[in-house]
């Protein structure tokens, strides 16, 4: 952990920064959902966006993912996973909202 070349990637500053960011990105959706400050539709989008940002924070600050520092095959695996998740979640949202629209609107 204390080896000089990797010290920057594993620094306390980055862990703490990630922790604060993660807390913020958790607090915002909870706040929005509890106070209903925004219309329902916007709240859903905000919660989704915060979740996505949270994933990126975790990958960057806790799992030390970097476009240049991480081995290409690992980036490829993560990209593949991202594509599949996009297909599954995006597809499900598309299918279910399409059905919702046709059934209740």
């Amino acid at each position: 952990m204390n080896n000089a070349p990797t010290a920057g990637r594993y620094s306390l500053k980055r862990y703490l920064g990630g922790y604060v960011l993660a807390l913020l990105l958790t607090a915002i959706p909870f706040g929005l959902a509890a106070t209903a400050a925004l219309p329902r539709h916007s709240v859903l989008i905000a919660v989704g966006a915060a979740a996505l940002a949270q994933v990126l924070v975790h990958l960057r600050c806790f799992l030390h993912l970097g476009l240049r520092t991480t081995a290409p095959e690992r980036l490829l695996a993560i990209a593949f996973a991202a594509v599949l998740i996009l297909i599954m979640i995006g597809g499900s949202l598309w299918i279910m909202f399409n059905l919702h629209y046709r059934m209740w609107v």
Partner: protein, 664 residues
């Protein structure tokens, strides 16, 4: 509410006293179990079975156990099939011999068993035995996890089997659609048996997938680049990636259904805002990739068989690799074609219809590659080759009906009919099962050291394929005639003749299964003259034929150097095969452990208790399972050292055997 120590388990509910056929099934199950226990006890082989097999972490032993499980479950699943065919052959304007409640259990268990407990263990077993040898490795990456996977799968199979004796199985089909599978319509234990059997074995499958991916990426022999791997390794890699990404969807979906049923939640109940269509959506996000999880390894087997028995290099190796990976990705983009009729807009249906047809393209590429490999080859008609040829013809027919079903307007007419039943059996029997049987006959000498009888293998093939056509072509017809699937009785006289033919087809397949049993028994009895002393009975081209048959625990005393796609063939040509190395080195091998059996056992108790709502036992079993896993992780002595001198002894014996062969 009254708390009972055994949850809702009472003798009156649990015993299968509702029909004579059900009692018969229970008795056969119990007798089969007692027969196995009795035989081992009578032979006094418990110690041998425990130390050499059940606790073994050797990938070959684990693979053999997987295949044995698959073959037993194949028999059970086939009994279900022939019972359904018999029922429908008689049930014109009458109840046949099965009450509806029982018939529904039978088609549900048939599908569940064939997919989860026949096909999955069969392919996992073959992969386990062969892939490490094909890539020149000494074991899988995580030998202990391998054992855990096996015993979780066995625990799931055990839950399905015990449902025949204690309680009832699901009547909701192998897909378990709500609302019918919800607690409101289905308060009994059947659906719970289905859920927990799938949960437990599904986790095992996910672990297997992880294990195979890491093995293939990290354990290849020197020189074995990815683009030099035999095609079976490629299809295993693709299939394992699908397992890792698709199985969590199934686990989550069935877990949500369990929450609906146990805690009265409403993910999939329309009252209180649940949405049952989302169950179907989530289920098929797993379900469609699953089709390719089953079929891709078989494609790999066919590729190996075609190339070996045509004595030619595989035609279009690269195109086969790309086609495999394209299929793996595309398989995630077509799931809606399982529910075109749910009422999505034309745009959604058109997208998934087109995506479905696109999958036919890489599959077509593969068929042409196999044909071109055969073209001008020196073909040996080994039974494995017959399964492959039968597959190519039959699978293409199934592919055509699949493209037909991929048209949403046509699907509106044929969905839920026996046309669909005929279609997917037409894909999975030739596409998956024939492949596994080809692999079984091809690799049997590798696993056991003697070949299987070819005459009985050919008879089995001819019975299976003619039985298949007899059993399923009438179902295509019946679909056009308007017959829905899963009918316990019907009143259309015109349906009966095709149904009788289909039942005859099932009887011919039964003869095929009998041939398989006879083949195995006859081959064991004549094993002394079918010994494979070379380890290479078919003049193989890939590395698994370099090891002894059966292989030493470490597979390769010295890791092979790979220079070509057909690594062994290239070595033979160079005359650099079976060389005596300058010296041997110690090899670390995984030490046996009973922890896998223990974890599987606890998972079984957990599943059984959850089914019957015996919550104290479920909690205890879960805790015990976690404790066993934790205790195992503190174990430092997971490997043992096989010394160079022992290895030298084993290898010298093999080299003498090879020399003796050459003298003949």
């Amino acid at each position: 509410m009254e708390m009972r120590i055994l949850g809702r388990l009472t003798a009156a509910d649990a015993l299968p006293l509702y029909s004579w056929v059900a009692i018969g099934g229970a008795v056969v199950t119990i007798l089969g179990f007692l027969a196995i226990i009795g035989t081992i006890t009578w032979l006094g082989k418990w110690r041998y079975v425990w130390t050499e097999w059940l606790t073994s972490l050797d990938h070959k032993r684990i693979g053999i156990l997987y295949v044995m499980l698959a073959l037993v479950m194949l028999l059970r699943g086939f009994v279900d099939a022939i019972m359904m065919r018999a029922q429908q052959a008689f049930a014109l304007n009458s109840g046949g011999y099965l009450p509806p409640e029982h018939f529904d259990q039978i088609f549900s268990s048939h599908g569940t068993i064939m997919v989860f407990f026949m096909a999955m263990p069969f392919l996992t077993g073959l992969i386990n035995i062969i892939v490490p040898q094909q890539i020149g490795a000494r074991d899988v990456a995580f030998p202990f996890m391998n054992s855990v996977s096996l015993w979780l799968t066995a625990a799931g199979a055990g839950l399905v089997l015990i449902s025949l004796v204690v309680g009832r199985f699901s009547t909701a089909g192998w897909t378990g659609y709500p609302p019918y599978s919800g607690a409101g319509y289905n308060p009994g234990v059947g659906v719970d048996y289905w859920i927990w059997a799938i949960q437990v074995s599904g986790i095992g499958s996910t672990l297997s997938g992880i294990n195979f991916i890491v093995t293939i990426l990290k354990r290849r022999a020197p020189g074995m680049k990815l683009m030099r791997m035999p095609l079976f390794c490629w299809t295993t890699l693709a299939s394992s990636i699908l397992m890792v990404f698709a199985f969590p969807a199934l686990t989550v979906t069935t877990a949500l259904l369990a929450l609906d049923r146990i805690f009265d939640m409403h993910f999939f109940t329309n009252t209180d805002g649940g949405n049952l269509m989302n169950y179907i959506n989530l289920f098929w996000i797993w379900g469609h990739p699953e089709v390719y999880i089953l079929i891709l390894p078989a494609f790999g087997i066919y590729s190996g068989v075609v190339s070996t028995f045509a004595a030619k290099r595989l035609f279009g190796y690269k195109s086969l690799v790309y086609a495999t990976m394209a299929i793996a990705l595309l398989s995630f983009t077509v799931w809606l074609h399982h529910f075109f009729t749910m009422g999505a807009s034309a745009g959604v249906n058109a997208f998934f219809g087109v995506a479905t047809m696109v999958i036919a393209v890489p599959t077509g590429v593969k068929v042409f590659d196999w044909l071109m490999t055969l073209f001008r080859g020196r073909i040996t008609f080994h039974p494995s080759m017959l399964w492959t040829l039968g597959f190519i013809v039959t699978f293409t027919i199934g592919g055509m009906t699949g493209v037909l079903l991929a048209l949403p307007p046509a699907d509106y007419l044929m969905h839920n009919s026996t046309f669909l039943v005929a279609h997917f059996h037409n894909m999975l029997i030739p596409g998956a099962l024939f492949g596994y049987l080809a692999g079984y006959m091809y690799w049997f000498p590798k696993a056991f050291g003697f070949t299987l009888d070819e005459r009985w293998g050919k008879r089995a093939f001819w019975c299976w394929i003619s039985g298949f056509y007899l059993a399923f072509m009438p179902l295509y017809m019946l679909g056009f005639m308007g017959m829905a699937r899963r009918m316990e009785r019907y009143d259309v006289a015109a349906w009966q003749p095709p149904l009788v033919i289909a039942a005859l087809g099932a009887a011919v397949i039964l003869a095929g299964i009998a041939c398989l049993v006879i083949q195995l028994i006859a081959s064991i009895r004549t094993r002394e003259r079918r010994r494979d002393l070379t380890g290479d009975p078919w003049d193989g081209r890939t590395l698994e034929w370099l090891t002894a048959s059966p292989p030493a625990p470490y597979n390769f005393a010295v890791l092979p150097q790979v220079r070509d796609i057909d690594a062994l063939h290239e070595m033979k040509r160079r005359g650099a095969v079976y060389e005596r190395p300058e010296r041997y080195e110690d090899i670390l091998l995984p030490r046996n452990t009973g922890a896998g059996v223990l974890i599987g056992g606890f998972a079984f108790v957990f599943g059984f208790s959850a089914v019957w709502h015996i919550w104290w036992a479920a909690a205890a079993a879960l805790l015990a399972l976690l404790a066993a896993a934790a205790a195992r992780s503190f174990c430092d002595r997971t490997e043992f050292r096989l010394s160079a001198s022992e290895i030298q002894q084993i290898e010298e014996r093999r080299l003498r055997q090879l020399a003796g062969e050459e003298a003949l």
